[in-house]
């Protein structure tokens, strides 16, 4: 069902700089002969064009790198990976040297070692700051290189004064250019990987600096706060805006009732902050740890993920009914998801004319915030002004989202603080807790029950899969398991950048109570084909948007899931550093296996959701109350910077 006819690649990096990967074994014949590469006396035959670095990795030989990143195109600017190549007068950068003929390489001769040491010394000569006062202490690539090469004094000096002011204008990202070593990973992330284009190098030579357009504060440019640059920065030059001091202050204040909601992606990744391998979720250990830290209640964001599915799904049904049955031309289709705050800001800047297509449903974080300060406050008899609502998210854009002025529908700031996985990891360590050793405990029971549908929100395609599980059952009246084994809708899964899936609706059932007030019957959907799209990373979102603009096949879709970060939330900008394609795949595995462990795996079957529609949101999904609390509006920002 997956179509291979995805829009053409519009990446802007010149061909020579595009990501170079070793082709998988089955394609080797088409690439022609392999060439012999001898590294430190060990021989390996690699396809023509393989870099020395990739060949060395195949041999298990470590060459240190700094500017190189598995997600990004080749830059070859830091020179840390220099090696000696027979026949070459000068040292060559292993990351940017393609092997095209039999090549002999030495990776740690005296000349190489000396050059690398000098390069590291030179990087340090321009790197202001003290390691122990840095957010990346002990997780810094420059620091590890200095250690590896035994730097014990500053051969070329060390800056005593900062050169630049720290840019704290953004709610999400803090830029301290004094720590920047000009590796240009953030530039390649912003321009090539995400195609947002906020950061570039300006000026020349020693004056070179990574900057925004006209060196404006980050809050004034088109930054979408995705934080992918933070995740790729080798030093502490880019970091998230850290509110942990405020959260501790709230915990220490006896008058405050501090409530935490945790999202599935950070739970699948936080173990990495405690030395655990990627791909193991610590959901229930985390609950205990959070209570030890002093949080009064711990809830599962999955609950509002389920709620999001109901609201967004209902909105889709309303839109489809209006467009197909009532022939209302003003209805905007396809409907776009609104869970990813990075994507929302992206469309506000770059495609504001398509804002009517974005679902008005809030993201799970903000829905939970609104419910905690209304429904939960009333239920527990707590004054909402004494509730401090904290969200654990894999995301730096969530910090911006919770500070949006329109996100105060409960009468208070719906979510007070957004914490990233890294920041909570730090808080837990600060409390002296060894997370993996914690006993397991469940969520607090007001919103306790969640479904597997909410868990998979963390992976790309997850929102779509949850929505489909729900829609298929509501419309056909049959179990999803009849159509897909284990209710796992595999076509929408995977890491392909853009996916397109068609789902034929062969039979319809009776209209369930939940949406009875909206549509009289399902006959209008009988024989129809539901067309959906999934994409992750804003570069892929751009491809889909351009296709829609050109009237391509995505313009005929009904529902499209957009995620700003590569891999979805599990690859978010607030996740532990490093994040690589392999680590993303491991986290996805953890998320999908957690989904399998749930007994209830469809949002509409969640008993608490059913309860809340009976008790609190009495006029049903997309009704009056839910519109007030669970839906929002967007701002057309445009991309021109005054």
């Amino acid at each position: 069902m997956v179509s291979d006819n995805v829009p053409q690649d519009v990446g802007r990096a010149p061909r020579s700089q595009q990501r170079q990967t070793v082709a998988p074994p089955q394609n080797l014949e088409s690439l022609g002969a392999r060439v012999l590469c001898t590294i430190d006396g060990k021989e390996v035959r690699v396809p023509v064009g393989t870099t020395i670095l990739a060949a060395a990795r195949e041999l298990g030989i470590r060459i240190p790198t700094l500017c190189n990143h598995d997600d990004l195109c080749v830059a070859g600017v830091c020179r840390v990976c220099v090696v000696e190549v027979e026949g070459q007068r000068t040292l060559q950068a292993a990351c940017a040297y393609p092997v095209t003929q039999p090549t002999k390489v030495w990776t740690h001769t005296r000349k190489v070692r000396q050059a690398r040491r000098h390069i590291i010394d030179l990087l340090l000569a321009d790197h202001y700051g003290e390691c122990y006062a840095c957010s990346r202490n002990n997780n810094c690539e420059l620091q590890s290189l200095a250690k590896e090469y035994g730097v014990d004094f500053f051969r070329f000096g060390h800056p005593e004064k900062p050169r630049y002011e720290i840019d704290r204008s953004s709610h999400s990202v803090v830029r301290d250019m004094n720590k920047c070593v000009l590796c240009r990973r953030c530039i390649r992330t912003c321009i090539d990987l995400q195609e947002v284009g906020v950061l570039e190098a300006i000026h020349r030579g020693h004056d070179t600096k990574v900057a925004t357009f006209l060196d404006k504060p980050l809050a004034q440019v088109v930054c979408i706060n995705c934080g992918q640059c933070i995740n790729r920065c080798p030093t502490g030059a880019l970091r998230a805006n850290d509110p942990t001091d405020d959260v501790w202050a709230a915990i220490d204040d006896p008058t405050k009732h501090v409530v935490m909601q945790t999202a599935p992606s950070p739970r699948a990744a936080i173990g990495e902050c405690f030395g655990q391998p990627a791909g193991k979720a610590f959901t229930f250990e985390l609950n205990t740890a959070l209570r030890h830290c002093g949080f009064d209640k711990v809830f599962d964001t999955n609950f509002t993920a389920d709620l999001t599915i109901i609201e967004e799904g209902t909105e889709l049904i309303i839109r489809l009914y209006k467009a197909l049955v009532q022939k209302d031309k003003s209805v905007a289709l396809p409907q776009f998801t609104s869970c990813s705050p990075g994507w929302v800001k992206y469309i506000e800047h770059f495609y504001p004319q398509y804002l009517p297509n974005v679902s008005s449903a809030k993201s799970p974080q903000q829905m939970f915030g609104a419910l905690i300060k209304t429904y939960y406050a009333k239920l527990q008899g707590i004054d909402p002004k004494n509730i401090v609502s904290v969200a654990l998210m894999p995301c730096s854009a969530k910090k911006f989202e919770c500070n949006r002025p329109e996100m105060c529908d409960s009468g208070y700031k719906d979510v007070d603080y957004g914490l990233t996985t890294r920041e909570l990891g730090k808080m837990i360590s600060e409390a002296g807790i060894d997370l993996p050793a914690m006993p397991k405990s469940d969520f607090d029971d007001v919103f306790g029950t969640a479904t597997g549908s909410g868990v998979i929100f963390g992976a790309t395609g997850g929102v779509m899969e949850s929505a489909l599980r729900c829609v298929i059952e509501l419309v056909t009246g049959k179990k999803v398991e009849n159509f897909y084994e284990h209710a796992e809708i595999l076509p929408v899964r995977g890491f392909e950048g853009v996916r397109y899936v068609e789902i034929p609706i062969t039979a319809v059932g009776p209209v369930p109570d939940l949406v009875k007030h909206l549509v009289p019957d399902w006959n209008w959907l009988k024989g129809a084909t539901l067309k959906v799209g999934v994409c992750h990373g804003t570069a892929n979102a751009k491809k889909v948007m351009e296709d829609i603009k050109a009237g391509g096949k995505f313009s005929e879709c009904h529902f499209i899931e957009f995620m700003a970060c590569p891999g979805g939330c599990l690859g978010g900008g607030g996740q532990p550093i490093p994040t690589t394609p392999a680590i993303r795949a491991a986290r996805a595995k953890a998320i999908y296996s957690e989904d399998r462990a749930y007994t209830v795996r469809k949002s509409h079957e969640n008993p608490v959701i059913q309860h809340i529609y009976k008790e609190f949101l009495t006029d049903g999904p997309c009704g009056h109350v839910s519109h007030k609390l669970l839906h929002t509006h967007y701002t057309a920002r445009g991309k021109y910077i005054p």
Binding site: V196, G197, E200, I202, H203, R204, F213, L214, V221, K639
Partner: protein, 173 residues
């Protein structure tokens, strides 16, 4: 038809697109032409160019800030670039520099209040055998002496005066 300034600029830059093409490779010639016409590339112009070439404004900014002959802030009508490299230095560029500063009443890196002259350093104009050398817009002057500076500046002023007079006459006609 009445146009707002952004509309007029957009139209003008789009017509440059017809001339130089609309891909990345057209960036430098387009910017050079805007620089020639406006003596600088405004933030708005950068964004219009970026839009037309389907690149990001910050990439245009990056190119403009990289090259000495492209400027974000408009320069004087006559940009005087005096060579400061070793050959010209040995042949007395320092005295020429003082004379220029004296005559114009500005220091290097500044523009005169009337917007006529900008004074800048250049790193080697390739006229090492005929130093001291300076460049005024696209014209090279060699073996410049402090005594010659006054005449050179006067030449510029006259050329501009003539130009202004012509424009005025055209306007009147």
């Amino acid at each position: 038809m009445l146009h707002t300034e952004p509309e007029r600029l957009t139209q003008e830059i789009r017509s440059l697109g017809e001339r130089f093409g609309k891909d990345r490779a057209a960036l430098i010639p387009t910017l050079q032409e805007i620089q020639r016409r406006y003596r600088g590339i405004s933030p708005l112009a950068m964004q219009i160019v970026a839009d037309m070439l389907d690149i990001h404004p910050v990439e245009v900014d990056s190119v403009v800030s990289f090259y000495s002959f492209l400027d974000a802030k408009p320069k004087g009508r006559y940009v005087i670039r005096l060579c400061r490299t070793i050959s010209c230095d040995m042949q007395g560029k320092e005295r020429v520099a003082r004379q220029l500063e004296n005559d114009l009443g500005i220091t290097f890196g500044q523009t005169t209040a009337d917007g006529n002259f900008t004074l800048e350093w250049a790193n080697c104009l390739g006229m090492c055998d005929q130093g001291p050398a300076l460049l005024i817009n696209e014209k090279v002057y060699t073996r410049v002496t402090p005594e010659a500076v006054h005449g050179i500046l006067e030449e510029c002023r006259q050329a501009f005066g003539l130009h202004a007079l012509q424009a005025e006459q055209e306007h009147a006609a």
